[in-house]
């Protein structure tokens, strides 16, 4: 079985450009998560969906960041007007139903904002 698939693996954007990151969760998993990892902040929760519905976006920066899950097979994280401080590894993860289950991570998208 394929794991969580994230594309692209690496993305370089100029300051002020838009970046869209894609995630395909494990088939049959109803909970999908986005995390961000940096050296300074560590692993930060951004948002999660269950059965495609947004459940908790408490970690999402209030401006410029948005996440969607238009169908059960993919989710997107969009960052508008990217800034150098957005540079990080963005990790998507999924689990069977969310509660009391450790999500399984994809390989991540390394975003570099120049």
């Amino acid at each position: 079985n394929a794991g969580v698939i994230q594309t692209p693996r690496h993305k370089v954007t100029g300051k002020g450009q838009e970046a869209t990151l894609w995630c395909e969760p494990i088939s049959g998993h109803s909970a999908v998560f986005w995390y961000r990892q940096t050296i300074v902040q560590g692993l930060e929760f951004l948002t999660y969906f269950r059965n495609q519905a947004p459940i908790d976006d408490s970690g999402m920066p209030k401006e410029r960041f948005s996440a969607q899950m238009p169908n059960q097979s993919h989710s997107t994280l969009k960052i508008q007007s990217t800034q150098p401080q957005d540079s990080a590894v963005y990790l998507c993860a999924s689990s069977f139903d969310g509660n009391n289950q450790a999500p399984l991570f994809g390989e991540g998208t390394r975003l570099s904002v120049l």
Partner: protein, 112 residues
Amino acid sequence: QQQVRQSPQSLTVWEGETAILNCSYEDSTFDYFPWYHQFPGESPALLIAIRPVSNKKEDGRFTIFFNKREKKFSLHIADSQPGDSATYFCAANQGGSAKLIFGEGTKLTVSS
């Protein structure tokens, strides 16, 4: 606000020794505690997890010890091998929520 704390930040042990990694938490509603390890250039991978109905969970050389009263839990890696060298993250989530809060990580180095 850091709700899950890990110590030490880095740990070096000799091959064959038991490595002990520690975590503590603040929120008494937390009820699920996984550990992940992460090798350089890779994403975190689930290692082992425990629910507070138990105070111990074993999986091969990896054991979680859980102390609900003190809100502490630890990962013991027995017979440590150089291949265990990685960064280890503990995490916790609240009952009714799937949101995992991660600790800061412990970088483990196993020397041969």
